[in-house]
């Protein structure tokens, strides 16, 4: 249902369908960044869960908002919620289990064996702080500097001044960091 402040389901679908290729790419880059830094969900899973929440009407689409921002905000919520479930839930989502016994013994319970396909490195990588990003650029000093200023909330011309760089040097580094995050 639509109202003055939010889009109806059909309007949401129309807005998504009209999104430009550049905005789809922005979405992919953000999904890969969230996937690397926040959760064990893949980038595609994060995008799909966000689209499901919007298309089903579970998540409101503010009428005046720019589509790419609405989708990215939804992805951030999905990734953050998933991360909270991973951290606080009774079930460790990083571990698959295999049932060893088909017979249920009321006293002993069912025997299971963990099959952990997530490496310790991956667990450390996605623990939800800036180190997850810093680790990606540990071999590139310029990119380390860009990550540093972004993590302080400084960007654009201000970031170039903060770093003592010409603007074109900053823009080249920004593009390189974007390509790196896209390639994850």
């Amino acid at each position: 249902m639509s109202d003055e402040t939010s889009l109806s389901k059909s309007e949401v679908e129309a807005a998504l369908t009209q999104m430009s290729p550049a905005d789809w790419k922005r979405i992919k880059i953000k999904a890969r960044t969230y996937s690397k830094a926040l959760t064990y969900l893949t980038a595609d899973d994060i995008i799909q869960e966000a689209l499901i929440s919007l298309l089903s009407g579970d998540r409101v689409w503010p009428r005046s908002a720019r589509s790419v921002i609405v989708v990215i905000n939804a992805m951030h919520s999905e990734a953050s919620n998933c991360r909270e479930r991973e951290q606080s839930g009774a079930i460790d989502h990083r571990v698959d289990i295999s049932v060893l016994s088909q017979q249920y013994d009321e006293d002993a319970g069912t025997l299971v064996m963990p099959i952990n396909e997530v490496t310790p490195e991956r667990i450390v990588e996605s623990r939800g702080d800036i180190e997850a990003i810093e680790r990606l650029v540990e071999n590139d000093e310029e990119l380390q500097d860009v990550v540093l200023v972004w993590s302080l909330g400084i960007r654009g011309k201000d970031a170039a001044i903060e770093l003592g760089w010409e603007m074109n040097k900053y823009e080249a580094a920004r593009k390189r960091l974007t390509r790196l995050l896209e390639s994850l």
């Binding site: 550049a22 993590s151 974007t178």
Partner: protein, 131 residues
């Protein structure tokens, strides 16, 4: 602020700044090295996949609700003889795995006997048991 909170706060600022930079970068710069047609097609495919998943979840929920209604409310159509059904339930009442008050069987209507027989029989089939 603890070290962990501080690092999480830095990540939040990084995400926010990255988004602002991505929005500020021109479409040409963003699209460099990519085929816009492919991106658009992938986007449409993701919308279609999300819609299919919504439909799948809705169908699964509807099927589960229907199954619950069937068990609890649908009339039992059975070809089993009422005496056979009573005998089956009587035997089941003596099975330690099943809790049926044997004395209440004699007080139950034929329809209730058939309903309970059908449910128990299905339960045993579902769990790999046999009549």
């Amino acid at each position: 602020m603890t070290d962990t909170t501080h690092k999480q706060d830095e990540l939040r600022k990084f995400f926010k700044t990255q988004l602002e930079e991505l929005l500020e970068m021109s479409d040409e710069e963003i699209l460099e090295g990519s085929d816009p047609e492919v991106l658009k097609i992938e986007g449409m495919a993701m919308i279609a996949a999300a819609k299919a998943k919504i439909g799948g979840r809705r169908m699964a929920a509807a099927k589960a609700a229907m199954a619950t209604r069937k068990v609890s409310t649908s009339p039992i159509i059975s070809t089993v003889n009422i005496d056979e059904a009573r005998a089956y339930l009587q035997a089941a009442a003596n099975d330690s795995r099943i809790t049926i008050a044997a004395r209440s069987l004699g007080e139950m209507s034929d329809a209730d006997i058939i309903r309970m027989y059908t449910q128990l029989n299905k339960l045993q089939q579902d769990t790999g048991g046999s009549k």
